[in-house]
């Protein structure tokens, strides 16, 4: 396999730097070392994949208390691996003469990766991240009796356990739920997706109350079991 020389730095326009020569006052174009399209593609992919791995590692460190919520991270990982394989094959099959085309494809892939990573990052670190769900639950737990000034009960430990049990069963969809305190001692969860919204209250007796809004249609139920609740939510996510 041919050894790849060091690559010249590129300017902001993605072109090789035009530097003033040390020995003369004239501008000279630096000779750009040759890099095969395969290496170029793999380098870009490797960078994106490393960035993705770093995010995944951060998520694992911060949220080791909710391992089931990392399911999405694993799914993302497999899709990145598939993409990596695809780029490998593409580079092998592409003739060096089609360099421009390979470059275009690589650029598109990079944009796709950046978008995926940004979406991923936003989904996991902004308001709905698992760590923030736990933080919010802790905050709710600290509310004392009469927290709403209308004789509200504090959220019971059993209700929190019921809510956690439900969230664990949801897997990756759990990150879209935000908790709130129920005045009757339960722990509420809300989630919104486009025109759909669901509000759930996990009660201390391990039953669930819900209101599901799908556009103008409203479905609701009281004292349903965990399996029923999971089925209702599965219609949304």
């Amino acid at each position: 396999m041919a050894e790849v020389a060091e690559i010249a730095p590129l300017n902001v326009f993605g072109r090789p730097n035009m530097r003033r020569s040390n020995n003369s006052d004239t501008f000279s174009r630096e000779k750009r070392p040759r890099e095969t399209s395969k290496d170029w593609l793999l380098r870009g992919m490797q960078q994106a994949y490393d960035a993705y791995r770093k995010i995944q590692k951060d998520v694992k460190q911060k949220n080791n208390q909710l391992p089931s919520l990392l399911l999405k991270a694993n799914l993302e990982s497999s899709s990145f691996d598939m993409l990596n394989d695809y780029v490998n094959r593409l580079a092998l099959e592409t003739d060096e003469t089609n360099f421009g085309q390979v470059r275009l494809i690589r650029k598109k892939l990079q944009y796709w990766l950046i978008d995926s990573l940004q979406d991923y990052e936003q989904e996991w670190f902004d308001p709905l991240s698992p760590s923030k769900v736990l933080e919010a639950i802790d905050e709710i737990r600290s509310l004392e009796a009469n927290w709403d000034g209308q004789n509200a009960e504090p959220v019971s430990i059993m209700a929190i356990e019921s809510a956690k049990k439900f969230l664990t069963q949801l897997g990756s969809a759990a990150v879209s739920f935000e908790p709130f305190a129920d005045p009757e001692g339960g722990l509420g969860l809300e989630s919104h997706k486009k025109e759909k919204s669901i509000y759930i209250i996990a009660s201390p007796d391990s039953t669930y109350t819900y209101v599901l809004r799908d556009g103008r249609a409203i479905h609701r139920g009281s004292k349903v079991c965990l399996d029923t609740m999971r089925n209702v939510v599965s219609t949304l996510y």
Partner: protein, 167 residues
């Protein structure tokens, strides 16, 4: 300082009551042009301070059978704020502002059968501009959760930005 606000609130209510009677109207009747406010405490608002949680209009069936409100357009907001801050201090919670809602929002709530919500004045000793929305008793919890989530659509948070003097 609370007593000063308390007295001012009652004087304003008596004047309002007098004007209402002169106009052949009950001071307890709530016009659609009024604004109502639900006092918000720590657990009612999300961290951004402007988004309501679904519990803002949820009641505890064991201790209440109505949604409690203030008629905030009939007196300066500082008076209601002072009452709410005093209540928050007693309960060791933080007062976050008011969930402002129009009276006709309650009639727009879609419930099964012929159930229609209505709001009426219900003066209390501590707050003469208090109002209530009676809710039907003995319903399942999903009924009250539905009302709470319906009202969320019509309410918005009025934050208390400035530290009020004498509160």
């Amino acid at each position: 300082m609370l007593s000063v606000h308390f007295i001012e609130l009652w004087i304003r209510f008596l004047l309002f009551g007098l004007i209402s009677i002169i106009r052949f109207r009950s001071p307890l009747a709530i016009l659609n042009s009024e604004k109502l406010g639900r006092e918000l405490f720590s657990g009612h608002v999300k961290n951004d301070g402007i988004t309501l949680r679904p519990n803002a209009f949820k009641i505890n069936r064991k201790s209440e059978n109505s949604i409690s409100l203030d008629r905030i357009s009939l007196a300066p907001l500082r008076l209601f704020t002072s009452l709410a801050l005093a209540a928050a201090k007693r309960r060791k919670v933080n007062f976050k502002g008011f969930a402002e809602i129009a009276p006709d929002a309650f009639t727009r709530v879609q419930l099964e059968g012929n159930t229609v919500l209505s709001v009426k004045g219900d003066p209390t000793k501590s707050n003469p501009f208090h109002a209530n929305v009676p809710l039907p008793p003995d319903r399942d919890d999903d009924f009250y959760l539905l009302i709470a989530t319906e009202l969320l659509q019509y309410a918005q948070v009025t934050r208390i930005y400035k530290k009020l003097k004498g509160v």
